[in-house]
């Protein structure tokens, strides 16, 4: 009762801050911050579910011999780990950050399409319930790899339709989220905020949203064809009926490669916000950053077949995809050089967001180097489908995308909760994560080069040492993420009050002009941007 009274008083004081009560606030949420929070919490839960699967994988691979799981179940783990981490953890985390930050950064009161925002979030728990419940069907979970290559994926049991429909739902959710981002950024910017004054996080998300709208329907089409091949007697991918299994790979990777950039472009945006703040100096080469992002997005549509050099493409095809893939190094290089030059002659301090952004800078670049090696088609014949590839994409996705998300959370968390968190605890999280992530993934380069294929549950004894090292790194990395949860809970519950600027710096961007925590309806009156 007392609580309700204070709330009523509070509401009377700040009419704009009126919040709906109880479960309805979340079920019927239309507020960008509430939906953003739900996305972030959902992503965190999925991060732990996908992480638990990875822990079982690393446990089985700790030493040669089959100790814990059946090979079929192992394949289900590998498949679901990927689907959960990509569609359940990284993508929703980025959408959550977009929901929270885009209106704050462009000076808008909310997202443009709040009710669609609600749908796009609430589809996700149902999609992942379908996907994860498939583990309890006859034949177990999906075990054909997240790439769903036919004919193997068509051999699945009852998990098959559940997986397909889950992917359809995830795609619908992503498209709605993307439409919302585009409409919001295009229509609701504060007066004076021209496109080339847009914060880079908004820019990278705008481009990401276009990528999502372009490729999610392609994925939906591909999996629908799988569905009809399985149940309705079509032969899109069945050679016995005149179909072509390689066509699926072309369609899948036409989605899949832009998808890779969907997972990394918002990370570029976050890092481009954080490095200038803690270098106390504006971003070097803002225009070049925008153009580089757009170039990467364009190139992502013409490089897809570098995922399939071994399928037997004509020589000319292999040449084209090798050269176009190498070109990506140019705009990506521009970005890395710009971030580095932003720090040059700066005044650097090393708060947790900056630490994570710096780890991103170093470790994403290592992932970029192995990417450059993988682009070389003749060498790719040796790397393809080995642990070298596993090391490569985990370097760009874990200390790449995931570290950028963590950097973003540490950067904006006080703005969301109004409380500072324990810098000591966050720094512990940083150091343990950064060291263990390298112990986890660096030896996988060696394993792949020495000849260990990916997606195998057991291996020859020559691979034992590096697998043990990698597993130990994995367990430490997994455990250290509990520190992340501890920091978030602590900041949500209380702590020293955060100022509007939060950081001992002059962070640019409209989000720092509102108090912390940000008001429920971010900007009732549009701010002027000069």
């Amino acid at each position: 009762m007392a609580h309700a009274d204070t709330h009523a008083l509070h509401a009377a004081d700040h009419h704009d801050d009126h919040k709906p009560h109880g479960i309805g606030r979340w079920l019927f949420a239309t507020n960008h911050k509430d939906i953003g929070t739900m996305y972030m919490v959902f992503a965190l839960i999925m991060f732990f579910i996908g992480g638990a699967m990875a822990m079982v994988i690393r446990l089985e691979l700790f030493k040669p011999g089959m100790q814990f799981v059946d090979p079929g179940f192992y394949n289900s783990l590998v498949t679901s780990h990927a689907l959960v981490m990509i569609f359940g953890a990284v993508m929703p985390a980025f959408v959550g950050l977009a929901n929270w930050m885009i209106p704050l950064q462009i000076g808008a009161p909310d997202m443009a399409l709040p009710r669609m925002n609600n749908y796009s979030f609430w589809i996700l728990p149902f999609a992942f319930t379908l996907l994860l419940s498939s583990f309890f069907t006859a034949g177990g979970g999906p075990a054909g790899g997240w790439t769903l290559y036919p004919p193997l994926s068509l051999q699945a049991g009852d998990s098959f339709p559940l997986t397909i429909f889950a992917i359809h739902m995830m795609g619908a959710s992503s498209i709605m989220g993307a439409i919302n981002v585009i409409v919001t950024i295009m229509n609701m910017r504060a007066p004076g905020m021209t496109l080339l004054k847009l914060p880079l996080f908004c820019w990278t998300w705008l481009i990401t949203a276009y990528l999502l709208i372009a490729v999610m329907p392609v994925l939906a089409g591909a999996v629908t064809m799988l569905l009809t091949d399985h149940y309705f007697g079509t032969s899109f991918f069945n050679p016995a009926g005149g179909g072509d299994p390689v066509m699926f790979q072309h369609i899948f990777w036409f989605f899949g490669h832009p998808e890779v950039y969907i997972l990394i472009l918002p990370a570029f945006g976050i890092v481009s916000e954080i490095i200038p703040t803690f270098s106390r100096k504006p971003l070097f080469g803002y225009d070049a950053m925008v153009y580089a992002t757009a170039s990467i997005a364009f190139l992502s549509f013409i490089v897809w077949a570098h995922h399939m050099f071994t399928v037997g493409m004509p020589l000319a095809g292999q040449m084209f995809f090798m050269m176009s893939t190498m070109l990506i190094a140019v705009p990506t290089g521009v970005k890395v050089f710009n971030w580095t030059t932003t720090m040059w002659k700066g005044s650097l301090s090393f708060e947790p967001p900056m630490l994570f952004a710096l780890a991103f800078l170093f470790l994403f670049t290592i992932g970029g180097f192995s990417g450059l090696m993988l682009a070389i088609a003749p060498a790719d014949y040796q790397y393809q489908d080995t642990y070298f590839v596993v090391a490569h994409f985990h370097y760009v996705l874990v200390p790449g995308a995931v570290f950028a998300i963590m950097a973003g959370v540490y950067y904006w968390l006080p703005k969301w909760t109004g409380h500072m968190y324990s810098m000591t605890l966050a720094k512990w999280h940083f150091w343990v994560s950064t060291i263990s992530v390298n112990v986890l993934f660096f030896p996988q380069h060696f394993l792949g080069l020495a000849g260990m294929p990916r997606r195998i549950p057991d291996y020859n004894v020559q691979f034992t040492d590096w697998n043990m090292v990698s597993s130990i790194g994995g367990f430490v990395f997994g455990l250290s993420q509990l520190l992340f949860v501890a920091v978030i809970i602590q900041s949500a519950r209380g702590g020293p009050k955060a100022t509007a600027k939060v950081w001992d710096a002059e962070p640019l961007g409209l989000e720092w002009t509102v108090p912390s925590p940000a008001p429920y309806h971010s900007f009732s009156d549009a701010p002027e941007v000069h």
Binding site: G145, Y149, S279, L315, Y381, P453, I456, D458
Partner: protein
């Protein structure tokens, strides 16, 4: 010109240290063929290019982190916003590096794709979960499955220590036998799902796809036993269908082939030899035309 020089230097570097990298637990093998040595050379060339770039880029990053600390009184230079000159330079330099590396890569790729003038053709068919080899025109074909002792040890909670098993998971009942210094053409297809045939020492990895016939080739300069594994997820026992290629002297191979042919003749009088049912699609024909 420079690229060719770099490639030559790298290849000779690779050739100079074959024992070092051979059976390495952390690097690619130089391998047993000219192509695998070239691929190793490309791999090391790219590795050193990456190391060189890393030294420069990480060097600047680390210098900035050490030198421009606020705690040491560094004051930010607010005028450093962009510089067209510098930006053009760091766009062009990577382009030049890429062109320099693409040329040797393209040359090697052309050699790898040239399957003409082979002296022996072997059709490899992937099954869940074993390989079938057919020596085309020689009347010899057989299945090749995981060796029995490995198969026993790899069962869940078998209690058998893999260290005591000979070539654990890299041993088969019937290895492929080929002659040394002979260009072998491999024709690959799949019977059920997609598999991929990989022998690192030959730098050969090609998918075995139902409905397609893919081509690859190798010419081993060394006699010996070379192993590999399936590298395309093909179901439950994907990890348990290894490849073993035994390269023998031409005389030994001829003797082995004669023995096999005699055995096949004795065994199949009246019996039809199994042939994989694979169709040649237009796409496969295109590959063959190259």
């Amino acid at each position: 010109m420079l690229n060719r020089k770099v490639a030559t230097v790298m290849t000779s570097l690779a050739a100079a240290a074959p024992t070092l990298a051979y059976e390495s637990t952390y690097n690619l093998p130089v391998g047993a063929t000219d192509v695998s040595a070239r691929v190793y050379g490309l791999h090391m060339m790219m590795f050193w290019v990456c190391i060189a770039i890393a030294i420069v880029v990480f060097g600047v990053m680390i210098y900035s982190i050490v030198k421009f600390r606020r705690s040491k009184g560094a004051v930010a230079d607010q005028t450093l916003l962009h510089s067209t000159k510098v930006e053009i330079v760091w766009t062009l330099i990577p382009v030049l590096i890429l062109i320099a590396t693409a040329i040797p890569a393209a040359r090697t790729l052309i050699v790898m794709e040239d399957t003409r003038n082979s002296e022996l053709s072997i059709k490899v068919t992937g099954y869940q979960w074993k390989w079938h080899y057919e020596y085309i025109g020689k009347g010899v074909n057989f299945y090749s499955s995981l060796a029995a002792d490995s198969n026993e040890a790899r069962q869940l909670k078998s209690g058998i220590d893999p260290h005591g098993v000979k070539d654990y998971l890299l041993n088969v009942d019937n290895p492929v036998v080929v002659p040394v210094n002979t260009k072998i053409r491999v024709l690959l297809t799949g019977n059920d799902v997609i598999h991929s045939w990989w022998v690192p020492d030959f730098a050969v990895k090609k998918d075995a796809i139902p409905g397609f016939i893919n081509e690859a080739w190798f010419k081993s300069n060394k006699v010996g036993r070379f192993t590999g594994q399936c590298t395309e997820l093909c179901g439950r026992d994907h990890g348990f269908m290894p490849i073993v290629v035994e390269v023998r002297s031409k005389e030994d191979f001829a003797k082995w082939l004669a023995d096999k042919q005699a055995a096949a003749k004795a065994a199949t009088s009246g019996e039809v030899a199994p042939t994989a049912t694979a169709m040649t699609t237009p796409a496969a024909a295109t590959t063959a035309a190259l």
